[in-house]
């Protein structure tokens, strides 16, 4: 099996799905022609699939999302690219009120994917580093995924494209060219709603997703030397959430850290923490710890951003503290 970069796994998923299914098409700013998108993820797609299936749009996020809804209602499967996830705010209304409510209100099926390159660690400041997933987890009718590996990136994107609902696919820019793992050629699916144990362990459970999975894995490797056995649970899918696995692992391990790089208040960490304290209270051996970014914009300057983002030393320390509780 070939090792692929995270970013190439995303390209491959779209390429294969577009080959397989003529109803899949791509639209977004700068996605077409030789250029192939700000991150070159659709490079070569125009040549292969033609101008009708790889569409450059004006800078109109609301029209991008809204017209994706229209095309999806007509049975196509649009993949809309936000140039950076931060700009999803400009298409927010169409996502929340049109995409998210069509099926519930009048049975309109909206099989569409919005790809949202998100996350920090790349020195890009408030408008190119933010994490928006919680907004959409809070919104009924939208599914939300956030892969951490190339394997998951491909499988989740294929699952998202085939899903009959609007899916927001948060792909982490920091991982694009930093993460590489084995990815089968040809289509396969990582089902939405299934978490994955990225590393099993006994003493402390770290529940996380996206780039923070790798921070957690770093901590786990380090703490193994200190005799602490850390399990890393990668949520992968934030809506639907794999409540079952969250509760099962919690009940086995009893000490939980929820880790993410999004802002803290009303984030996915809050949701996971409260599900656990509602439904696995009696298994808890210590308070559930949330380790998240603070409630500030993502700052630009390196020391500020480094402080802002949870990192291995702080994650490891939190694990140690919890282990010692």
């Amino acid at each position: 099996m070939a090792e692929l970069l995270y970013v190439d796994a995303i390209s491959q998923a779209m390429w294969e799905e577009m080959e397989r299914d003529p109803s899949v098409f791509i639209l977004g700013e700068d996605v077409a022609h030789e250029f192939g998108g700000a991150f070159k993820i659709t490079k070569g797609f125009s040549k292969k699939f033609g101008d009708d299936r790889v569409i450059n749009t004006p800078i109109s996020e609301s029209a991008i999302v809204g017209s994706s809804v229209g095309a999806a209602l007509e049975g196509l499967r649009p993949i809309a690219e936000m140039q950076f996830s931060s700009f999803i705010s400009c298409g927010f209304d169409q996502l929340v009120n049109v995409a998210g409510k069509a099926y519930y209100r009048w049975g309109g099926k909206v099989p569409m994917v919005v790809r949202a390159p998100y996350g920090g660690g790349i020195h890009s400041g408030p408008f190119h580093s933010s994490c928006e997933e919680a907004y959409f987890v809070h919104t009924p009718g939208l599914k939300v995924v956030a892969p951490s590996t190339a394997y998951d990136a491909k499988g989740l994107l294929i699952a998202s494209i085939r899903d009959n609902n609007p899916v927001i696919y948060f792909e982490h820019k920091y991982l694009y060219r930093r993460i590489r793992d084995e990815v089968p050629e040809g289509p396969y699916v990582v089902p939405l709603g299934k978490a994955d144990i990225k590393r099993p362990g006994d003493d402390v459970l770290v529940i996380t997703y996206g780039a923070m999975v790798h921070v957690a894995l770093e901590s786990a490797a380090k703490l193994e030397e200190e005799g602490i056995s850390v399990e890393v649970l990668d949520l992968r899918s934030l809506c639907p959430l794999d409540t079952e696995m969250i509760l099962e692992e919690t009940s086995k391990i009893g000490k939980v850290i929820v880790l993410h790089e999004a802002n803290r208040s009303c984030g996915v960490g809050a949701e996971v923490s409260s599900i656990i304290s509602e439904e696995a209270f009696r298994y808890l051996e210590a308070p559930i710890v949330r380790l998240t970014a603070p409630d500030t914009p993502v700052p630009f300057s390196t020391p500020l951003e480094n402080y802002y983002l949870p990192d291995e030393p702080r994650v490891s320390q939190a694990i140690r503290d919890l282990f010692d509780y």
């Binding site: 004006p58 809804v69 229209g70 209602l73 209304d93 009120n97 049109v98 209100r105 009718g141």
Partner: protein, 339 residues
């Protein structure tokens, strides 16, 4: 003012020539749908006053020529995105009075299964997209449907209705620009009824005609008397034809007047009485009936028969809806996601 390129005005006079492609049977159907809208909405107002209808009541009384005239140009495979003054357009597309009544009563059997109310409905089978409250949100959606047609090389069109107030929203701009630059077969019908809730045109925009905004997108703009059903039909048909031929979108402004309150809880005291009186004299149904009688397509008596028959259908629909079961509480949880 200098004439603008690619802007057509047909707002002066009432059309008396029958547009090409409309048979006598069509003319009668158009009349029937307009009448269905009027009579149903008059009934709903009564029900509302009696406290029998649930929720707010918006009517399109005076807008029937636009609702019906524009929708009448569409084929089955076309997509329609209506707004809150366009009940008649739904009838044109096959929606029944019964299902509309079920909708107003929040019944399980209705087109939204009670999940949404009054004009906030659509029908997937009929290709009428569900109305979204957020004004102008249907415009990019219609563009997207047209995009799907283009990608699949189908010659269908997507038609969306909007109001004058709607033309101030960002999505109006993004949709028209996108539809234009991708040359999509979308037709936008702007019902300029001179008010957005309490706000007159003069506080919404600094121009006299919304249709001229087409200039900003390099597409045809048309300004038409919105109380003249045949004129509305004709200019929409032309726009639909262009759209089918791959000649891109059109913006059509239909001039009319909201002759009642914004909704039934609004007494519209902010509207000058004379303005309403002026427009009531140009009632689209009365004018159309006059024409039909002149052309001996309908008689007074026949019209009364049509009314009676619609009223009976309304009676039955309301009666059916009032007795139809409500959804059960826990059904609230169903249908958020498609399988």
């Amino acid at each position: 003012m200098a004439e603008l390129p690619n802007i057509t005005r047909v707002d002066e006079a009432y059309t008396t020539e029958i547009p090409q492609g409309l048979s006598e049977a069509d003319l009668v159907l158009i009349h029937k749908y307009m009448k269905m809208q009027r009579l149903y909405e008059e009934r709903v107002i009564k029900l509302y006053r009696q406290g029998r209808a649930v929720g707010a009541v918006y009517t399109g009384i005076g807008h029937e020529a636009i609702a019906v005239g524009a929708a009448f140009t569409l084929e089955k495979e076309d997509v329609m995105c209506a707004m809150h003054r366009d009940l008649g357009s739904h009838f044109v597309r096959g929606m029944t009075l019964k299902r509309v009544a079920l909708q107003y009563y929040g019944r399980k059997e209705g087109p939204t299964q009670g999940r949404d109310g009054n004009m906030h409905f659509g029908d997937y089978q009929l290709k009428n997209y569900g109305m979204v409250s957020m004004l102008a949100d249907n415009m990019p959606v219609a563009a997207g449907a047209a995009l799907a047609f283009k990608i699949r090389k189908e010659q269908n069109v997507a038609l969306a209705y909007i109001g004058d107030g709607t033309a101030s929203r960002g999505d109006f701009h993004e949709a028209l620009n996108f539809a234009s630059v991708r040359n999509l077969g979308a037709v936008y019908i702007c019902e300029n009824n001179q008010f957005a809730y309490s706000t007159p045109l003069s506080e919404q925009m600094n121009i006299d005609d919304i249709g001229i905004r087409a200039v900003a997108y390099g597409i045809p703009g048309v300004i038409v008397d919105g109380n003249d059903v045949l004129a509305v039909y004709k200019v929409t048909q032309e726009a639909v034809d262009r759209a089918r031929k791959g000649e891109g979108p059109t913006l059509i402004e239909c001039k009319t007047m909201r002759v009642r309150g914004h909704s039934e809880h609004d007494d519209a005291s902010y509207v000058p009485k004379e303005l309403i009186e002026h427009w009531l004299k140009k009632d689209p149904i009365e004018q159309y009936e006059k024409l039909l009688i002149e052309k001996q397509i309908l008689s007074e008596q026949k019209i009364q028969e049509v009314e009676a028959s619609i009223n009976q259908e309304i009676d039955e629909a309301i009666d059916y809806a009032e007795k139809a079961p409500l959804p059960e509480g826990p059904e609230a949880l169903e249908g958020v996601f498609a399988d």
